[in-house]
């Protein structure tokens, strides 16, 4: 199986390349059931990794260009559904894929987010924290572990990664079949299961971070879809990540009969737009 082969090659790489692999820290045996406490050397090794500090904001204009430049190889059935969704959007009556505030999940988060994100390096792991929602969070294990044989499906899947010359190579499986492959907020389809995403995330300039994605989704795509997105670095503090609880938008602040500050639901259109109160 592909994942197991990757894991074996990772262990081999660890043995032969030494420091490059130790830079990921706290290396785990494939069959380990414990997360070993990092040693000072594991923390020190993080300094060998590329500098991805700061806040990264997605380039929305590039997302729109890529939507046209890298067409998704939908299979005929999916393509017919996509054409309907595109027609709805052109008609000004878009289907909102994410108005229920469930996470975009993988790979759509990386494809279409308009919100900032940040990357945290700790021994054995890279964590990606998104601005919108506490649950837009990816944990990428870089400690050499393999994927679980039968991972619990999740919006962001199970991700393992390793470093190759400053590039973080990420392999993700175990993504919920309901997670969309979406080139926009209005057009996209569930992956319907068995999706596999490989990413090469790397600096393409001092303040430009690229994510080259390969998405394999056998139930909706005819072949692996390759595309890329980029973000730019922000260091000004006004870009610091803000709390963003998506579902908070479904509520308005009010006082209950006892004077407590409470949330009350607000009326919305199907497209997720708030409607004003009658008076």
């Amino acid at each position: 199986m592909r994942v197991d082969r990757r894991s074996r090659s990772t262990a081999f790489g660890l043995a032969v390349t030494g420091m490059a692999w130790l830079a990921t820290g706290a290396v785990q045996a494939a069959d380990s059931v414990l997360n070993a406490a990092p040693k000072p050397a594991d923390w020190a090794a993080l300094a060998q990794l590329p500098d991805w500090s700061g806040v990264w904001t997605p380039n929305t204009s590039d997302q729109e260009r890529r939507e046209k430049a890298d067409p998704i190889p939908w299979n005929p059935k999916a393509a017919a559904e996509i054409r309907k969704l595109e027609a709805q959007e052109r008609a000004g009556n878009p289907k909102g894929l994410f108005v229920n505030c469930l996470p975009e999940g993988m790979p759509s988060w990386m494809l279409i987010t308009h919100n900032a994100m940040e990357f945290l390096f700790t021994p054995g792991r890279v964590s990606i924290l998104g601005e919108m929602d506490g649950n837009r969070l990816r944990r990428i294990y870089t400690d050499g572990r393999p994927h679980p044989s039968d991972p619990d499906p999740s919006f962001h899947g199970h991700s393992i990664g390793h470093w190759e010359d400053g590039t973080l190579v990420v392999d993700t499986v175990g993504i919920l079949p309901e997670a969309y492959i979406a080139p926009s907020e209005a057009v996209g389809l569930p992956n319907n299961g068995d999706m596999h995403v490989v990413e090469h995330i790397h600096l393409a300039g001092p303040d430009r971070l690229e994510d080259d994605l390969e998405v394999t989704a056998p139930h909706v795509l005819t072949k692996t879809w390759k595309t890329s997105r980029f973000m730019v670095r922000q260091r000004a503090r006004k870009y610091d990540i803000a709390e963003g609880v998506c579902i908070q938008g479904n509520f308005s602040e009010a006082k209950d009969s006892a004077g407590n500050a409470v949330f009350v639901p607000v009326p919305e259109t199907e497209g997720g737009n708030w409607l004003p109160p009658a008076k």
Partner: protein, 141 residues
């Protein structure tokens, strides 16, 4: 400039008028339900400013046509995080503020729209909603 002269005109009439096209905002939902070929401009009173995710919302009271009773409209913006980067805060508007507002209305005729620009009459401060340039340019200072 065309927009300013139109704004002065609608302020004088105390009702809303229609201006030209504008650019879409950004969201957790598509903005295709807004008519970006139509910009409505009018003087308005802020009823409520909701600094919440995923979209900040400004509730305004405005007079849609000369002689008509005032109506409340709900105008959407992007997220607090994004707006912070172009100088907004949770207190950018207060209830009762008199403003000159421009927005793109919902296509279905409901009283909603996408915020485009507002000028606070008391201070002259102009607030716009496009965060694209701020997000696509590294800010390293």
């Amino acid at each position: 400039m065309k927009l300013e002269s139109m704004s002065r005109m609608v302020i004088f009439s105390l009702a809303c008028g229609v201006l030209g096209e504008t650019m879409p905002a950004q969201a957790h939902h598509s903005f295709a339900m807004f008519d970006f070929d139509k910009t409505i401009a009018c003087p308005a009173t802020v009823k409520e400013f909701r600094w919440t995710n995923p979209h900040v919302t400004l509730l305004i009271e405005a007079v849609p046509k000369p002689g008509a009773p005032p109506e409340i409209w709900s105008l959407e913006l992007t997220s607090p995080g994004n707006l912070t980067r172009i100088g907004w805060t949770h207190s950018s508007f207060k209830p009762g503020d008199r403003i000159d507002i421009q927005f793109n209305p919902l296509r279905d005729g409901k009283h909603g729209g996408a915020f485009k620009e507002a000028k606070i009459q008391a201070t002259g401060q102009v607030l716009t909603s496009s965060v694209r340039e701020a997000n696509e340019t590294p800010n390293l200072q």
